[in-house]
Subunit: 376 residues, 2 copies
């Protein structure tokens, strides 16, 4: 019998979950909060990434009492793409360029590549000692992801790695080193934050340390579907629009967009809630008055109605207006790779010094460092 994994969905009242960036102010406005976000550099950024994550990150970066760390989690690609690390190196560079292109600013935020900072591995190694095996493997998000990977690999002679089983604890190390107070996550990643809180509390209790306990920042995101109306991305279907798309590519993708199924029969009622082009306009078109007018006209009969091609033409313009500056900035950074490389190198190196201190604190508290000096 198939067993469904369930977990108690946290409510608004749970004190370790903050809903909406605007509620950050309620925590402590006099103090600078450190915030971690991370991304696996395994694919090119697309519109979903922007809507769901990047737009929020920019907002966090521009909030005065928040210090933002952006982690390029390349370890996390090794779990299930071990044989493809040659591709990975391009993904890392690509992701940093994308980040710079959407106005993430290395002068305001830290860009850190995980594999450049051995301290992640060292801290992770210590944390594995604090986490019961049962707690580590009963994580509902981990179980869901294991199922997905197993499905993907059904026809391949591959299997889940030990590294994958370790990853929630590896993320606790990320959070301890980088994140501290605030970690923006999806709703389904809240169990990771809860694990982090448990583990860090245990460290603090056992060794009288004072490492901050993180809180989850969950934001409400507008619902965005893929261009074919599916809510699953598919690389083979090419059903997405990348942040690097040219006007030609935008045009081609918008023209492929699934429109109202109701409009196929003349009797059926127009239903624009599933009209992909309108869904995109909802998010990216700033002139809401005009948009409302178009929606009203769309469900009218000819000659008052607007055609799908008109809606799509508008969307093409709107998206081009949105993407073209990103594309231009991307072009710029491709010609100035020194900025890209410096952003990574500078921060990864700076960060190490700070984190070595943190690990020293932990090791000293655990009597693992310099203790023999007292024997001399």
């Amino acid at each position: 019998m198939k067993k469904t994994i369930t977990w108690v969905k946290p409510t608004w009242e749970m004190p370790h979950i903050i809903r909406g960036i605007e509620n950050l102010k309620n925590i402590d406005s006099n103090k600078t909060l450190t915030c971690l976000t991370w991304a696996r550099p395994s694919w090119r950024l697309h519109l979903w990434h922007y809507v769901w994550a990047l737009s929020n990150w920019i907002q966090l970066q521009e909030t005065s009492n928040i210090k933002t760390n952006f982690l390029i989690a390349d370890y996390q690609v090794l779990w299930d793409h071990l044989g493809e690390t040659e591709k990975l190196r391009n993904s890392v560079i690509d992701m940093v360029i994308d980040w710079l292109a959407v106005w993430l600013d290395p002068n305001k935020s830290n860009f850190i590549v995980q594999s450049y900072v051995p301290e992640f591995a060292e801290l992770f190694n210590y944390l594995t000692m604090f986490v019961p095996y049962s707690l580590a493997t009963n994580n509902p998000t981990l179980k869901d992801e294991m199922k997905k990977i197993e499905k993907r690999w059904e026809t391949e002679s591959n299997s889940i790695s030990l590294g994958f089983i370790n990853y929630p604890v590896s993320q606790v190390a990320d959070i301890m080193l980088l994140g501290w107070e605030i970690v923006p996550v999806w709703e389904d990643q809240i169990p990771h934050i809860e694990l982090s809180r448990k583990v860090i509390k245990k460290v603090n209790t056992m060794y009288s340390t004072n490492f901050p306990i993180p809180k989850a920042l969950v934001s409400e995101f507008p619902r965005l579907v893929w261009i074919d109306g599916n809510d699953k991305m598919s690389k083979s279907l090419g059903n997405t629009i990348y942040l690097t798309s040219t006007l030609k590519e935008i045009t081609s993708q918008v023209n492929k967009m699934y429109t109202d199924p109701g409009k196929t029969s003349i009797e059926s009622k127009w239903n624009i809630s599933k009209h992909v082009a309108f869904l995109y306009l909802d998010i990216f078109y700033k002139d809401k008055t005009h948009l409302d007018e178009l929606k009203k006209r769309y469900i009218e009969w000819w000659p008052n109605s607007v055609w799908d091609w008109e809606i799509k033409k508008l969307l093409i313009n709107v998206l081009e207006e949105f993407i073209s500056p990103i594309r231009e900035r991307r072009e710029y950074y491709l010609k100035h790779m020194d900025i890209v490389v410096n952003s990574i190198e500078k921060w990864s190196a700076n960060a190490r010094i700070e984190w070595q201190k943190l690990i020293e604190t932990l090791k000293k508290s655990m009597w693992l460092l310099d203790y023999w000096k007292e024997y001399l």
Copy 2:
């Protein structure tokens, strides 16, 4: 139903198992072999440690074409003694003093403390990506040890840590960094070497590296029982003789030794195969002619026979002769802690430089290092 863990006992013919130090010569006498041994610093060394391990280590250290590394595996104590690290620091120092006292020589061998070398953690982290979860958890030695820990913790509110599940892979990292060709192990640790071979071969195949594949060195050890005739050590029974014992302690322990059960009844046949004092004399008394004579007399009738107290008196002298120089050297090092501390610090620091190179080789092969230089 209780399920017994079995594994195919390797035979002499298995090419990755060398039986007896004397057979090392058959491998490659023109080349210097690197050899790793390790110990968990969780208890004081006693006679068993000497007979089973240290005497062999000394032999390896004194073999001209073998370079020996002695690892103080303090990570491995954290799995199941996390709350007791304050004790651990004394155990580390104690173990190094014991090693020096039994003629392990920091000028000939490397003494390395695991927690002083973050490279272990970094390499371990990468290796977890190469090991299928199923392979990691199906290790028979791991399963046996899990049972033991679970039994020990039955009455405690504790459980097996994720760190424990990771430890076979953590040992692969130890072996990759330190051990290379030869790893002396007990018979029941052979699965660890087999796992190491699998993992290192996989790394070599996937990333065209050339890391050496280790071989197990299994030696035949004389059978030694505890002073109460049990083959299990018991701290509560105090049934062992430490390498630090005073003459008074040796006397007290030898006097407690279990003697021939056959001698309790006058009709029964003498059976010296279970006479603990004779078992110890077999190993530590050099005058085998005299020993044979004593054994013959022991099963004679009075007045030819020898009494238990005579056998025990001889053993006390033999053990005192064996332990007293170790005790003296121990006293010496306790007064010269700088030698002890320098032995650890020097080698742990030196080793890091060498291993950073090794990890760089791995990371470069995996396209994880310095790749962006080519974008400039």
